[in-house]
């Protein structure tokens, strides 16, 4: 198990280094000088030169990359200010290190991701299990149709409608807002209820269909049929054999979805004016604040790689064959 984890960790590290190198290369392929963001009105060549020096972008690209990587572990000092480790660069637009911006926005994104995940896991997986257990029955058809409907929905469509009806029409809720959980748990819950519901909707459809099809597939497996033939109870067979067989795929998909959400639920955050990583990535892209874009990219990539490694570790627990492979 330890060897497996070490192997996965080293693999993840290589992937992250590759991503960082490629991203950094692309960073400078963009035909926009990010220094212009800090350049005011008289943006002459000499003014740009000063800003490039301030932000350390006047060095050869390989040296910049090296300093960037070192800065992640050791921090950096720019003429315009200190950037403590882990330094993911200095935002041209915000005149502040990127890492504190990311960590400042992370609670919003984590709250959104966790709440949305809880909703879509419970509802989506639950509906899928019921549909599989009652395959061909009315409830299966209702669940399948409903999941198809939800799967075809878009957040940018559902969100404004939810606001128009629940907030501005019926006045059942206040405008969605993020309140730190540590300050006001009830305010946190109520403020994010609509975003959670809307975010979960599109996932519910996908998870319902996935769970249903995986379970039905499991029902056809020889070992499940054998268990039934031996007279084991339906619930026991369902959860002990079929469910466990389907679980690894559900976890895999959930791991990827959850890590993507932690990278920022862009449309949901924008729709509900929540200042998470998704909104930050949109703002940074809109302004071509390349250090910020770079930071978000790396952070998001790291999350996905780490979660995938964690999921692989979970496999080893769920499915002993993984260790042998």
């Amino acid at each position: 198990m330890l060897r497996f984890l070490i192997r996965r960790a080293l693999g993840a590290l290589v992937v992250l280094i590759l991503i960082s190198a490629i991203t950094y290369g692309l960073f400078w392929a963009v035909p926009r000088d990010p220094a212009m963001l800090s350049c005011g009105r008289d943006c002459t060549a000499s003014a740009l030169k000063i800003i490039h020096h301030n932000l350390g972008t006047d060095e050869p690209i390989y040296l910049q990359y090296w300093h960037y990587m070192v800065g992640i572990f050791a921090g950096r000092h720019f003429p315009v200010g200190n950037c403590p480790a882990p330094c993911l660069g200095y935002s041209f637009d915000e005149s502040t290190p990127v890492w504190p911006i990311i960590t400042g926005r992370l609670p919003v994104t984590i709250s959104l991701a966790i709440g949305g995940s809880v909703v879509f896991l419970i509802v989506g997986v639950g509906l899928g299990m019921i549909a599989a257990a009652r395959r061909g029955k009315l409830i299966d058809k209702v669940a399948t149709t409903l999941s198809m409907f939800m799967y075809s929905m878009q957040i940018y469509f559902l969100g404004p409608i939810a606001l128009a009806i629940l907030v501005y029409g019926l006045h059942l809720f206040n405008n969605p807002a993020y309140v730190p959980f540590t300050e006001n748990p009830w305010g946190w819950f109520v403020g994010l209820l609509i975003p959670w519901a809307v975010l979960a909707t599109i996932f519910v459809g996908a998870y319902t269909r996935m769970t249903r099809s995986l379970l039905i597939e499991q029902f056809q497996e020889e070992h499940v049929k054998m268990a039934r033939a031996k007279g084991m109870s339906t619930p026991f067979v369902f959860f002990r054999y079929a469910w466990r067989g389907a679980l690894s795929m559900i976890i895999t998909q959930f791991g990827m979805d959850f890590s993507s959400l932690l990278g920022g639920a862009i449309i949901t955050e924008y729709t509900f004016s929540l200042q998470g990583l998704g909104a930050f990535s949109v703002e940074a892209t809109d302004k071509s604040d390349l250090p910020s874009i770079m930071g978000i990219m790396l952070f998001g990539a790291a999350l996905i790689v780490i979660f995938n490694a964690a999921i692989d570790a979970c496999y080893a627990v769920i499915d002993p064959r993984v260790r042998l492979n």
Binding site: V30, P31, R32, D33, M36, S38, C39, G40, R41, D42, C43, T44, A45, S46, A47, L48, I50, I51, H53, N54, P79, V80, G81, D93, E94, S95, T96, P100, I101, G104, R105, P160, L163, A164, V167, Y168, H171, N174, N175, Y270, S273, L274, Q275, A279, F280, E283, T285, D286, K287, S288
Partner: protein
């Protein structure tokens, strides 16, 4: 303001160039109505706010005395919730240039001078803010002397001194101060571009500007010595980018997130990109401030709210939304018609002009023939361009290069564009036929925003009728300036706009049309280099009478438009804003190009 991006999110305060609307600067327009259609509903038209022209003048010592003129019906108390597009990013006065930032920092940062607005928003007077008057000129406007009011204090109770003021200007020379205006640095060092940084490296290494340039002979006197006359210095110093900084509390880069207040409010907390909470500054004395009020207990400024979001909230007018405003977000263009034609909502709108003026700029390096530029101008469908930007709520058709916010502005229309705003392709075609230019190809560059794309399509269609084959060059917003600013470049025409830093032509004509400033990254994207114009610029800059120079700039603008035609004006920017019904004192400030935040109260 400076160059803007599409969407009116960031407008710079003095001047900018290309594009359409995202961050705003400030200014006026050609008088509501005109050629562009107004609201369709007469009843709503009667109830909604109107765009008002404003006038600006330099005041006296008497005008500079506090307190500010009371706002009728004002009440004390309460915390106002405001919802803004994005964090202004910079709080250090030296880094302030965008309109959004200028508006918000006016609550807690003050300079030597400032704009005092009448209660109806139509009259602006440049007055002494920290200073006792708008300044005393001598030596042919090369020397300016200011005296600080007695009793001024920073939020920590420390007296504000001339040493602080001198320090505030010295620190602008530091290489870390790159976002703010550079007029004062260039004037004090008698340099152009970023040359001032070689003249003086800033005060952080222990060196001070010589007294021959900037001196503080006593605790309350500050003297500026320039090599050339600067008659409109009171206007320049009114830019929030020249706000005062307490020397003892200057934390350099960190100051940008937590400045020390000398205004009616101070920063209680700031969560980057999320929220700025302001509370009363106990050491602010209303008797020493002719501009601001302190009716509210504080402001809770929420960042990250799109125009769609704020429009929806403020249309709602119930609960907490009735007690809220957006200082900077305009009404969402998609909702503007509904807002302006629904009487129950329209009555909670204010409108005004911004200092921006749009043009289709011609690249004179490529389009060398005046007659060709004239034919293109005559065919240009400026009404469709305005319609694409949002119609009547986005602006008024323009006849010249100046926004109506400019002092001495007058409507002119040498090419008859206001009479034929849809363009006159038949006449243009006849002109081009004579020139043997029918079928000519021109490249039009524009930002790839929906408004710009629609405008470009309209231009292409209309100019095709004139026998011009317009090749559209759709450029991502993030790289637009980089490509347009290059000298030379491969485009024949660009969609552009510009806003004045203060309502005088010297922040419009020289940056846009001085042939000696043609360079990559500079703002003369038309590449106009007319020796007469260059000579006139020097002549007007040397004038010591502001009123005389204002007229001279207007006249020079007219000359450029009629004789050189480096671009055809399209529309003057205007803005419509909504506010909660329980918020009082709401007036659109033409100079700030946003709601005036210093006079608001809760009913």
């Amino acid at each position: 303001m400076t160059r803007s991006l599409s969407g009116r999110a960031l407008r710079y305060s003095a001047c900018a160039i290309v594009a359409s609307s995202a961050l705003a600067l400030s200014a006026c327009s050609s008088g509501g109505g005109g050629a562009n259609a107004g609201p369709k509903n007469n009843q709503a038209q009667a109830q909604q706010s109107e765009k008002k022209y404003s006038t600006t003048k330099v005041g006296t010592a008497a005008d500079s005395n506090g307190p500010a003129t009371p706002v009728p019906g004002a009440k004390n108390g309460g915390v106002l919730q405001t919802y803004e597009e994005s964090d202004i990013g910079h709080y250090d006065p030296g880094q302030i240039y965008t309109a959004n930032a200028q508006d918000i920092v006016s609550l807690f940062e003050r300079g030597l001078t400032g704009y005092k607005m009448s209660n109806d928003g139509t009259k602006f007077t440049v007055v002494g803010d920290l200073a006792t008057d708008p300044g005393t000129a001598s030596n042919g406007d090369k020397t300016w002397t200011f005296h600080l009011k007695s009793g001024l204090k920073w939020q920590d109770g420390t007296p504000i001194t001339a040493t602080d003021i001198k320090w505030s200007f010295e620190r602008l020379f530091d290489s870390g101060e790159t976002n703010g205006p550079t007029y004062m640095q260039q004037w004090l060092s008698n340099t152009t571009g970023a040359g001032f940084r070689k003249f003086y490296p800033g005060p952080y290494k222990g060196k001070s500007l010589p007294d021959s340039v900037l001196s503080a002979p006593d605790n309350s006197t500050i003297v500026f010595n320039f090599k050339t006359p600067h008659a409109d210095l009171p206007y320049t110093l009114a830019m929030p980018g020249y706000g005062a900084v307490e020397k003892a509390k200057d934390t350099k880069a960190k100051y940008d997130q937590m400045p020390v207040s000398d205004g009616p409010y101070q920063i209680k907390s700031h969560s980057l990109d999320k929220e700025l909470v302001l509370e009363k500054n106990p050491n602010w004395d209303p008797k020493l401030d002719p501009i601001r009020h302190q009716y509210l207990d504080g402001y809770d400024i929420h960042y990250g709210h799109s125009t769609q979001d704020t429009t929806q909230r403020l249309e709602d007018q119930t609960g907490a939304n009735a007690k809220a405003v957006s200082l900077g977000n305009p009404v969402d263009p998609n909702s503007a018609d509904k807002v302006l034609t629904t009487p129950s909502i329209a009555k909670y709108t204010v409108q005004g002009y911004e200092p921006f003026n749009g043009t289709i700029t011609y690249n004179m390096t490529r389009l060398k023939d005046y007659q060709v530029r004239k034919a293109l101008s005559i065919a240009m469908p400026i009404k469709q361009i305005l319609t694409a930007a949002g119609g009547a709520s986005a602006g008024d058709l323009a006849g010249n290069y100046f926004s109506p916010t400019m002092a001495g502005w007058k409507q002119t229309d040498p090419y008859g564009k206001l009479k034929k705003p849809n363009g006159d392709p038949a006449t243009a075609k006849a002109m081009l036929t004579k020139l043997h230019k029918t079928g000519m190809k021109v490249t039009l560059a524009y930002e790839n925003t929906p408004a710009m794309q629609n405008a470009a399509a309209a231009i292409q269609t209309t100019l095709k009728q004139a026998g011009v084959n317009v090749q559209l060059k759709d450029i991502p917003r993030s790289t637009y300036f980089t490509q347009i600013d290059v000298v030379p470049n491969q485009y024949d025409m660009y969609m552009a706009d510009w806003g004045a830093d203060w309502p005088n032509g010297d922040t419009v004509i020289p940056p846009l049309f001085d042939g000696r400033q043609i360079a990559t990254g500079a703002n003369n994207t038309a590449h106009l280099n007319d020796p007469y114009v260059n000579k006139q610029i020097d002549k007007i800059n040397a004038m010591t009478d502001v009123n005389q120079s204002q007229t001279a700039w207007q006249n020079l603008g007219e000359y450029i438009l009629e004789k050189d035609l480096p671009g055809i004006p399209t529309y003057n920017w205007t803005q419509v804003q909504l506010y909660g019904k329980d918020v009082g004192g709401v007036v659109y400030n033409n100079v700030l190009a946003m709601l005036d935040p210093t006079r608001l109260f809760l009913k």
